[in-house]
């Protein structure tokens, strides 16, 4: 008997504990309560290296919107404050899924913004689909995510794979002597692989000779062999498609072993890389979605936001994608004039929205397919925008003297 009672007691305790962390909450879509966005950020765990400042930035974002009165809802005839619920998904996909379920059913948020990364970008959208909650994801760049036929999902990824290096290749085509050969070095990651996959084909069609295509794992520390292959093949362009930290030893070892090329391009360049490799980055070209000083819609807002949140755009370039996602969701709600999820969905569908990076235009899959990036080059230890010429803050130095 004792046993049975004990078991029941245990079960009850467990259920009670479960309900303790699942409190009931709010209603959806009234004109009295704040407009609520829900998001998860990988503040800890393996992806946190890219995202650790976003929690603060998100809080500041809501504050700034509310300082302007909030989100303007025509349907209510007034501005409603914006509230953003933030959880840490600890970089674990199943945790992210359960937190989005929580936001859908317990916190009853109106809309989802985020999450990031392919590992979350695949499992989370079906949750939004199930609960019919529109979501604008941020740094979810793997193209297959947008080809699954989901109807409540948009994304503002940086890099947008087909467009990312367009301006860079455009620039290279205008240089003399014209580079003829290219060597791709790619981190084993869906996004970076997609970049290489697209551009290695494209480069061939642009008349480049692709001398090699090397994949490396994030675990790799000793790049000697890879660099020696570069030295043997002597490409004009070395195109590195990698996130910033895995390629730190690569750049260092390329320098150490006196690799030569006309241009070394690091497609996803950031200040973090710069901080770690220092002078070794001199002359390397890269791309960035936006940089303070580049004027456009919301550029003042964004400059103020990153200043308040203490985010250095060059160090955290992926922040732009997050900010764009928030901005687009605010615009969509204002366009719909109500917090009705279906109306907001209609506003988002194939919509075009403002962002500091220019117009973001969604295709029918929810993919922001027209965004490019500005080409920059590290000159005298500073990032200088060198292409397109109309917004360039400096002149492209070619062939890169430090790689001779």
């Amino acid at each position: 008997m004792k046993y049975t009672i004990g078991l029941f007691a245990l079960g009850t305790a467990a259920l009670a504990a479960t309900s303790l962390i699942t409190p009931a909450h709010a209603t959806v879509g009234s004109c009295t309560e704040p407009v609520t966005f829900g998001t998860t950020i990988s503040s800890t765990g393996r992806y946190s290296t890219l995202a650790d400042k976003w929690r603060n930035m998100t809080i500041e974002f809501a504050k700034m919107i509310n300082e302007n009165g909030g989100v303007n809802l025509k349907g209510c005839g007034k501005k409603l404050p914006l509230k953003i619920i933030i959880y840490d998904d600890q970089s674990v996909p199943s945790t992210a899924v359960s937190l989005f379920e929580r936001m859908a059913t317990v916190d009853k948020v109106d809309f989802f913004v985020g999450p990031d990364w392919s590992a979350m970008g695949f499992p989370v959208p079906p949750v939004a689909e199930k609960h019919k909650i529109p979501m604008v994801m941020a740094n979810v760049a793997a193209p297959p995510i947008f080809k699954r036929g989901l109807k409540y999902m948009w994304g503002t990824p940086m890099p947008t794979v087909p467009n990312w290096s367009t301006r860079y290749f455009d620039m290279m085509s205008k240089q003399t002597p014209r580079p003829k050969t290219i060597y791709f070095i790619t981190q084993d990651n869906p996004v970076t692989k997609a970049l290489t996959g697209f551009w290695s084909k494209k480069a061939a069609s642009l008349g480049y000779k692709v001398l090699g295509n090397e994949l490396f794992s994030v675990e790799l520390k000793d790049f000697t062999s890879l660099v020696l292959k570069l030295r043997i093949r002597k490409p004009d362009i070395i195109y590195i498609s990698s996130f910033d930290s895995p390629s730190v030893p690569l750049i260092q070892q390329m320098r150490r072993l006196k690799t030569k090329a006309k241009d070394v391009h690091h497609a996803l360049l950031s200040g973090k890389l710069h901080k770690q490799v220092g002078n070794d980055l001199e002359g390397v070209t890269g791309e960035i979605p936006w940089y303070p000083g580049v004027k456009g819609p919301y550029s003042d807002f964004t400059e103020e936001l990153v200043k308040r949140a203490n985010v250095d755009m060059f160090e955290y370039p992926w922040t732009m994608s997050r900010i764009s996602a928030y901005l687009i969701m605010v615009q969509a709600v204002e366009r719909a004039g109500t917090v009705d999820r279906e109306k907001v969905r209609a506003a988002l569908f194939k919509g075009t929205f403002d962002s500091p990076t220019g117009q973001i235009e969604f295709n029918e899959n929810g993919y922001a397919h027209k965004n490019g990036a500005f080409t920059l080059q590290v000159q005298n230890g500073k990032p200088v925008i060198v292409w397109p010429p109309e917004i360039a803050t400096g002149k492209f130095v070619y062939p890169s003297p430090s790689w001779q």
Binding site: L7, A9, G45, T105, A119, F122
Partner: protein, 582 residues
Amino acid sequence: MSNYRYWLGGAFVLAALALIPTSGSAYTTTLLFTMLISYTLAQSWDWVGGEAGYINLAHFAFYGIGAYAFCLSLLNGIPIALCFVIAVVVTSIVALVVSFPLFRLRGDYFAFATLAILPLTELLAFNFDFTGGADGVVLPPKYVLFEAYYLAIGLVGLTAIATVWLIRTRFGYALKAIRNDEEAAEICGIRIFPAKSGVLIMSAGFASLAGALQGWQLSYIDPTTVFGLDVALIPIAMALLGGSGLLWGAVVGVIILSLFNQLLIVSLPILQTAIFGLLLLLIGRYMPGGLLRSGIIRNNRWIGFLGREHDRFVKATAGVTMTDGLPLPKQSDMKGQPVLECRNLTMAFGGNVAVDNISLTINAGEIVGLVGTNGSGKTTLFNCISKVFEQKSGDIIFLGQNLAGARRDDASKLGIGRTFQIPQPFSDLTVAENIAMPLMYRGAVSASLPDALGLATQFAEYVGLTDHLSARADSLNLQQKKALELARALACRPRLLLVDEVASGLTPMEVRNFVNHIRELRDNYGITIIWVEHIFSALAQVVDRVIVMEQGSIIADGPLDDVVRDERVLRTYLGSAAPEAV
């Protein structure tokens, strides 16, 4: 009686779980789903870790392999039920293959080596084409939480049943024996590699189903998600935190850690992981046996049952026929014929020759005393005969069969039983379980667990351990342990019994008792006996002849009275001060 309560309790829990999706929020369902998956992982890990005693840090790799096998099959249009089967089959094959190198290792080395498996699987998933590399495997975006949830309930039911089954069956006991002492397990007739490999495969199979369900629910897997080192230790920590090797250990560990973790995530913006780690650390420091083994739980009226050890779940069958004396077969009379022959037997460790070119013959129905100073090679000889060591050269012929290359369990099954000089009981099992072990494994007449426990009482009575049947072996004193050794050796139903120093330390009365046993075993059951003993008075009462060893060689062989008058024996064994005479 208690049985029906288990089923009732289990059914109640599963039914309650099944009702959750209809009443609770989808969030509760995902949370519980995660817990069900975690339980399956933690519990199936514990079959290898808690039962067989091997710390397998590669468990998460099986989870990932299952997820991959399932998702890839599903993507190729295979019916979903078949996909689960494929996941189990593929993972089992992998587990079988890796068990060959891994089980060549013991203890912590096994743990070290398994730790390397997980990064390897992650890299393979990254680098192979068919796994999709870093892009992972993308399933159609169906919302299958509820289907996956109900399947997970089923999986948990199966896991729980398998756990109870392990506790109550011969297989489970083979694992417990292996955990305690592999050498002694083999002596009891257990083939250890198939048992270890078997439990690894079983554990891998359940982990693979957990992975398959999780992959299905997430609709996407990539190498870092299912093979990531960062989360691999958590299911293991859950099992250990609850109480490894206990029926309820994994359950409690999973409930507490999952809920605690979720509570931290939703209520704290920072340092959730650190606080989670702090909980693990404190439990490890203050309740190192796991939460359920702590006094706070065990001494509690209401939840004390959670901390029960496995032996409290098994009862002996009452209906075993009580025979007069021991349940041993009367052996065919072959008196005078050789049972054991050693020919030119040599055993050496490095340069140290422990048994040097020995030839001897033991005839059926003999009781032979084997004496010699410590280090003269008696125990090594025993170890060669019982195949604890493979001899360096020479032959051992037992009942006409050459034992060259035989395993320890072969020797046991052929009818060689033995005791160890330093008793090697299965320490954390009870006396009854210790004796039941060979009864379950020895030969064609192997008994079921309850029957074996029933029979064990008779052996225990024979050696005077009736009062200690349910005491743990490590709580016995030295003499009781030696008695237990004898009972366990007898339970092997030997035709040749090797007794290694049982009488030392006994009172004269006890020695006489023991001698009577030895005589009785020969007279009533036809068991041939070789007895290593220092106490001549004990030997004198029963042995037919004495073999004296010194420096690995036999220096005398004959009736006791002759031997003790042998000058050479007196000099070497008794160390007589008499002048050297050659």
